[in-house]
Symmetry: none
Subunit: 138 residues, 2 copies
């Protein structure tokens, strides 16, 4: 009965209402009432959606008087992104380039600080590297 975390997270994301709620929460923490306002739907329905999102680890909830403010919780998003990473090479062409760019910038940053300025000019394109690369993101 209890789905694995990734399954319940994806399941939670499969509903447009819930994704809209998350989009709203991306703008900042807010109450159930305000979250419910845009939808033509009863409050219990929204309450259920929030429970699903919370159980999926996509949001967390606090308590302030009679309000239960909701906010984005990063963990499950991170897991989804991580899982997606296994497939990124199938579509993200700029993945390698961006990755290279990041390293370059980091190197420059370091160069400034250490004043050692080892010049990076080479890009990597190898495929094997995909596997061994320490995640730059996540």
């Amino acid at each position: 009965m209890p789905l694995d975390p990734l399954s319940s997270t994806f399941a939670a994301l499969a509903d447009p209402t819930r994704r809209a709620i998350l989009a709203r929460l991306a703008l900042g923490e807010t109450s159930v009432m305000e979250l419910a306002e845009p939808f033509d739907m009863s409050l219990p329905a929204i309450s259920k959606h929030l429970k699903v999102l919370e159980h999926a680890g996509l949001i967390s909830r606090g308590r302030e008087a009679q309000w239960r403010p909701c906010r984005i919780a990063p963990a499950s998003f991170r897991q989804v992104d991580f899982w997606l990473g296994n497939f990124r090479r199938f579509w993200d062409e700029s993945f390698n380039r961006l990755d290279g760019l990041l390293e370059e910038m980091k190197a420059e940053e370091v160069a400034k600080v250490t004043a050692k300025a080892s010049p990076r000019t080479k890009r990597k394109t190898s495929v094997d590297k995909e596997k061994q690369r320490g995640r730059t993101r996540g």
Copy 2:
């Protein structure tokens, strides 16, 4: 009845069997029989899963004699990644750093042009800004 693309994609990803199938396909194109082999499940069940994945745009299928080889299809993965990008700032530190760096660079650029050089030392925290930001990946 017809869910929006993102919803059916997330729904397709919400099943561990289907994710396992995708993981197998990440290793390369293969037949239904071979995809079914690891699972203690009837072939029709697998067939249904494949149909769901195909309808979600996560795989595509060819025809070779009596086989219908399946392979990863990039489009829907890309869409998921794109959607996820709206939330990346919530967990990806390197994303924020990149974002900050980009803004800094832009600011320097502007400074050069306008020759007004208002020194930027502070990182943005405004929420509104998030909306107008063009995606870095995608």
